[in-house]
């Protein structure tokens, strides 16, 4: 193991992240100015290049806070910082090793059958002693509640308690890995491969520490570190071997990925990973929480986008429900619903995510020796990477995340934890209210002025903003008709249709292939957008471009309604470079109509490539007007809004 790993350490690309991700129990020796430095640098540097010099072809890679800061932080610290793993290791090795007798745990599950109670070995007796002492009435009081009349409430007897809570103690002892799993508690990495990976990481850190120590102190330091290395190396092998004869099955089961916070935050994937880069994809897969099986036949041009086998990811994620310690339940639920497609629509996804973040912040308490804003950012990063695995982030969500992170980074260090949390919660609330809800109201106010009596309004798909406009115009008593254009496979327009009809608005429902006919009657086209990019390109549900183009050809004004928080400084000229691929089966199969599902048998044909795009880009030429919370603007003015909007986000 060691000789193989050793050369990697030198060239390990993760080294560049050293500056930002300090080890969990870093001591006070961590340079102070690193703390004071970071909050200001990342968000600011985030903005400047795009705002100032924006060439039309430049597609600036979206910035990630972690990436940036790691780049921004000078590499001068390592010697200082790298000392800390060493300290940690030497500290751990002090923990009394003799407190566990490995033989006790030889076969706890098989060994303790009831018949053997009389003839049990000294080991179990000791443990039953522990259990006996733990046999107390539970802290819940037995009486005094309002009780159901019939059955007397029962006292709970605690018969078994988990007493060893120190993480990683068992590892050193090298006993059976089943017990390993429990002993580790919060830091748990129960599975075989992961254990060894963690060990490898520990080894690597120790080696690095050794090097640093050698540099700093000369030979004395390296001697200590080497002994640490030897120890960890031995420890890592022992559980693996024991595990093998313990249970094949169990190891399979526990093979589910569980990555600790520390691992995850180091590996936050780049939001726009190029999925045709096989080596990076492999890496990403290794750390992914959601198992991702990629579809075999992908369309040539879209190889850089992730596309996964549909129907395999959800059950797999569901299985891990209780095992994902690093993800807050609220975040998990949101991710699950993204993955299952229960929530869609930019605003709703963004709000759901922010609310989940709020919940997780509410229950958050920063560990000792850690600054809240750093640890919370790391936590948030792990949540975000989890959400990305569930479904690629929309641009609106990306902006919201950026906002939350900047808020966390800008929290004054003097605030107490509870103050900081309430501060954050109210900030997020404010974001939801001001940037989404109020923005929608302002958009409605503006847009309603564009609806006149006798109008025929066309909309595509189901946009929350457009729906509110139509409902509001109807409430004002305007007489108009609505044409809802819809398209397979999502058929989102049907829900909108149902709701509009419920309000008594007269509607026409038509599919996208009939749009050229109906456009002749239409006087205005209202469209929603997932994002508006700096060159005025509207990035929206696939099909929008088609509608806008037809409208443009027929001379019908196209009005795009989009909240300003969805604007992005990126420039995009086509729908290829950034997009999302949906489930290709959704196109091939028609639900509920078995008789026309004869394409099923050729779905795996090698010459067949199915493309289910989710978004497309509408060139600004086809857009007459964009209505935002800052007013009605032509698409050419988007960069101004982006600049102004970002400025106030940073400055507040």
């Amino acid at each position: 193991m060691e000789p193989r790993r050793a050369p990697r350490i030198v060239i390990d690309p993760k080294v560049r992240q050293v500056g930002f991700f300090a080890p969990p129990d870093r001591s006070q020796s961590v340079p102070l100015h690193q703390n004071s430095n970071s909050p200001s640098s990342p968000p600011l540097s985030d903005l400047s290049p795009s705002g100032n010099s924006l060439s039309p072809v430049m597609i600036p890679p979206p910035r990630h806070l972690s990436d940036l800061s790691s780049r921004a932080v000078p590499v001068g610290f390592p010697p200082n910082r790298l000392l800390s793993p060493l300290q940690r290791f030497s500290g751990e090795s002090v923990i009394p090793v003799g407190s566990y007798n490995p033989s006790e745990f030889a076969s706890p599950s098989v060994g303790d059958f009831f018949e053997d109670k009389n003839a049990r070995s000294p080991g179990p007796r000791r443990r039953s002693g522990v259990g006996g002492s733990g046999k107390f009435a539970s802290s819940l009081p037995a009486g005094g509640f309002e009780l159901p009349p019939e059955v007397k409430p029962k006292r709970l007897t605690t018969v078994s308690v988990v007493s060893n809570l120190q993480p990683n103690v068992n590892e050193k002892v090298g006993e059976q890995s089943i017990d390993n799993q429990d002993g580790r508690g919060a830091n748990s990495k129960p599975l075989k491969e992961k254990t060894s990976k963690a060990e490898r990481r520990a080894l690597q850190e120790a080696q690095r520490a050794a090097k640093a120590a050698a540099k700093a102190e000369g030979n004395a330091g390296s001697g200590v570190a080497n002994s640490v290395n030897a120890k960890t190396g031995k420890a890592s092998k022992a559980p693996v071997q024991k595990k093998d004869n313990a249970s094949v099955a169990a190891s399979e089961k526990r093979g589910g990925e569980r990555v600790t916070d520390k691992d995850r935050k180091k590996d936050v994937p780049h939001p726009r990973m190029q999925f045709d880069d096989t080596s990076r994809v492999e890496k990403a897969k290794k750390r992914a929480v959601v198992k991702q099986t990629e579809v075999r036949n992908r369309v040539e041009l879209f190889r850089h986008l992730p596309q996964y086998e549909h129907g395999t990811r959800l059950p797999d994620l569901e299985k891990k429900f209780f095992r994902l310690n690093s993800v807050h339940p609220a975040v998990y639920k949101v991710g699950l619903r993204y993955l299952a497609g229960d929530i869609s629509g930019g605003n709703a996804r963004c709000i759901a995510m922010l609310q989940a973040f709020q919940e997780s912040i509410m229950e958050y308490s920063s560990p000792k020796e850690k600054a809240l804003n750093r640890d919370l950012t790391a936590k948030l990063n792990s949540y975000v990477s989890f959400l990305i695995e569930c479904r690629p982030l929309s641009i609106s969500m990306g902006n919201a995340i950026k906002f939350v992170k900047s808020r966390i980074a800008n929290l004054p260090l003097t605030l107490s934890e509870s103050e900081a949390k309430t501060n954050l919660l109210s900030e997020i609330n404010k974001f939801i209210n001001e940037k989404i809800i109020l923005a929608d109201k302002v958009i409605v106010q503006h847009a309603v002025t564009k609806v006149r009596d006798g109008d025929v309004l066309l909309t595509y798909g189901s946009s929350s903003a457009v729906e509110m406009i139509l409902l509001h115009a109807h409430e004002l008593g305007k007489k108009f008709r609505v044409v809802i254009v819809d398209a397979r496979p999502k058929l989102e327009g049907r829900l909108l249709l149902r709701r509009l009809l419920g309000k008594g608005i007269s509607c026409t429902y038509i599919h996208l292939n009939g749009v050229s006919y109906i456009m002749g009657q239409v006087t205005r086209v209202f469209l929603g957008a997932s994002s508006v990019l700096a060159n005025g390109t509207v990035y929206s549900r696939v099909g929008t471009a088609c509608v806008a183009m037809v409208a443009n050809a027929c001379g019908v004004p196209v009005i795009v309604c989009c909240e300003a928080y969805k604007f992005h400084e990126r420039v995009q000229l086509d729908s290829i470079c950034c997009n999302e691929l949906g489930d290709s089966d959704a196109i091939l199969k028609v639900q509920g109509r078995e008789e026309i599902n004869d394409l099923k048998d050729i779905a795996n044909d090698e010459n067949l490539q199915v493309l289910n795009l989710t978004y497309d880009a509408t060139p600004s030429d086809y857009v007459s007007m964009i209505i935002t919370d800052y007013g009605m603007i032509p698409p050419t003015s988007v960069p101004v809004i982006v600049r102004e909007f970002r400025k106030d986000q940073i400055l507040i």
Partner: protein
């Protein structure tokens, strides 16, 4: 993840006589030389659920189970045991510990479940749909392998009766109708309102209730409180929840009123908009469409709740130890087809022989067998597809086929055992022949006797 787990480890089931007794409650019956309860506990442990409440029926069995858990799981699980009087039923058992339930959702698992389906999947489905109850169903196991013709007779008598009629929606996510057990022969009544709301319903009889439920705590407590007559989760609570899912006036008063109240109190226009935005964005199930009413806006708000199902895939193993037939089936499967559950490593001959076991000369132990610690076998024995417990003494020329032999059993020379279950401390004298028998603990089978299809127990 804010889930609390309740394991219902029932007392001594009548169906399992004579195998169960005061000393051996149902949940401690050995499956591949491990109490059946350990399978559930380990399944939960694998899912990282370490804080459990085990409810035991009957005061006397309580102590046994407590002792066993405290020995086997100290330092591994945090287990609390509550004893309830016998015959209160599953609902009664939950009622007894209702005030100990605090988490927002409760996972209720039957203690006799042997399966490899992650409870997390059920919990996730539950959370995703915000359901009131989520039940896990699995396909009915094929009882007995084809070659064991000996047990075929039993199959025929047991099989009818364990049919469940389950109605699902087309996406197989929601539970629309459930009727358990004997009512198969009668007509089944399906509510019109549910049918018209769903459109299509799939009625299936090939599903088995795995007795793994996720409940919303507030709802469960309310139902248990209001319906004091409810005794069984499966036969009373679940059908009640399913029946009332489109008109849950009584039900969600507690839970929903709270939420609604909050929304109304707030009065803030923003909040209403917010919730509407979220509601509009999510793909509605038939429940929500029904609540909206035919035109999208119902005159009065209709209250609904969702009952979900989680269908385990066919490749997963799932069985309940609720009959003698099931007992021998599970024992056979755990060392055979579903060997990954047993947690033992199988030898190259596909069997498990404890290193301390002693085999005589010319004794063969076939594949899919298990031989417990300290057991001794004489010469020229043959063991096929059987489980033999700890410290058994088996003489020479003994044939054991398709059987389960528990611990400390003494078997004389020349015995032949086929398709039988032999409890602990049984003594078989020479040349006894047993076929399809169940023998209770401590029984002595006299020399040369022959039994077929009988159940013997000490008087």
């Amino acid at each position: 993840m804010d889930f609390q787990v309740v394991v219902l480890a029932g007392g001594s089931s009548k169906k399992l006589l004579p195998l169960v007794s005061k000393d051996v409650p149902k949940s401690l019956l050995p499956v591949a030389n491990r109490p059946v309860l350990s399978y559930v506990l380990e399944l939960l442990e694998q899912s990282n659920l370490k804080d459990l409440i085990v409810v035991v029926e009957g005061e006397d069995t309580d102590g046994l189970i407590e002792n066993w858990i405290s020995e086997a799981y100290v330092d591994r699980l945090h287990v609390q045991v509550a004893a309830v009087p016998e015959e209160v039923g599953t609902a009664g058992a939950l009622r007894a510990i209702t005030h100990h339930l605090t988490a927002s959702d409760i996972l209720v698992v039957s203690g006799d479940l042997v399966c490899d389906i992650s409870p997390g999947a059920v919990a996730a489905a539950h959370r995703r749909h915000d359901a009131v109850v989520t039940a896990m169903f699995c396909s009915v196991p094929v009882t007995g392998p084809p070659e064991s013709g000996s047990s075929g007779g039993k199959d025929k008598t047991k099989k009818p009766g364990c049919y469940n009629i389950v109605g699902l929606d087309l996406t197989e996510q929601f539970l629309l109708y459930i009727a358990a057990g004997m009512e198969v022969e009668k007509d089944i009544k399906v509510q019109k309102s549910i049918l018209s709301a769903v459109g299509k319903m799939e009625i299936r009889a090939d599903l088995m209730d795995a007795h793994l439920y996720a409940f919303k705590r507030s709802v469960l407590q309310e139902v248990l409180n209001q319906k004091q007559t409810f005794r069984s989760l499966k036969q009373d609570v679940l059908p009640y929840l399913v029946k009332t899912q489109l008109r849950s006036e009584i039900l969600l008063n507690g839970a929903q009123a709270e939420e609604n109240g909050n929304e109304k109190d707030a009065f803030s226009n923003n909040k209403v908009m917010l919730s509407q935005l979220l509601a509009n964005a999510s793909t509605p199930s038939f429940h929500e469409l029904y609540a909206l009413g035919p035109n999208g806006f119902a005159p009065a708000e209709r209250k609904i709740h969702k009952c979900c199902v989680y269908l385990a895939s066919k490749s997963k193993y799932c069985a309940r130890l609720n009959s003698i037939q099931a007992f021998s089936d599970i024992n056979r499967d755990v060392i055979g087809d579903a060997s990954h559950i047993s947690g033992c490593s199988f030898s190259v001959h596909n069997n498990v022989i404890h290193p301390s076991a002693v085999l005589g000369s010319k004794t063969t132990v076939g594949p899919q067998c298990m031989l417990g610690e300290g057991s001794q076998m004489g010469d020229k024995c043959s063991v096929k597809r059987s489980v033999i417990g700890r410290h058994c003494r088996i003489g020479s020329n003994v044939k054991v086929v398709n059987s389960v032999i528990m611990n400390h059993v003494t078997i004389g020379d020349g015995c032949s055992i086929q398709g039988s279950v032999i409890s602990s401390n049984v003594q078989l004298q020479e040349r006894a022949v047993l076929k399809d028998c169940q023998i209770g603990a401590g029984f002595v089978v006299t020399a040369g006797s022959e039994y077929k299809g009988e159940s013997l127990a000490r008087k």
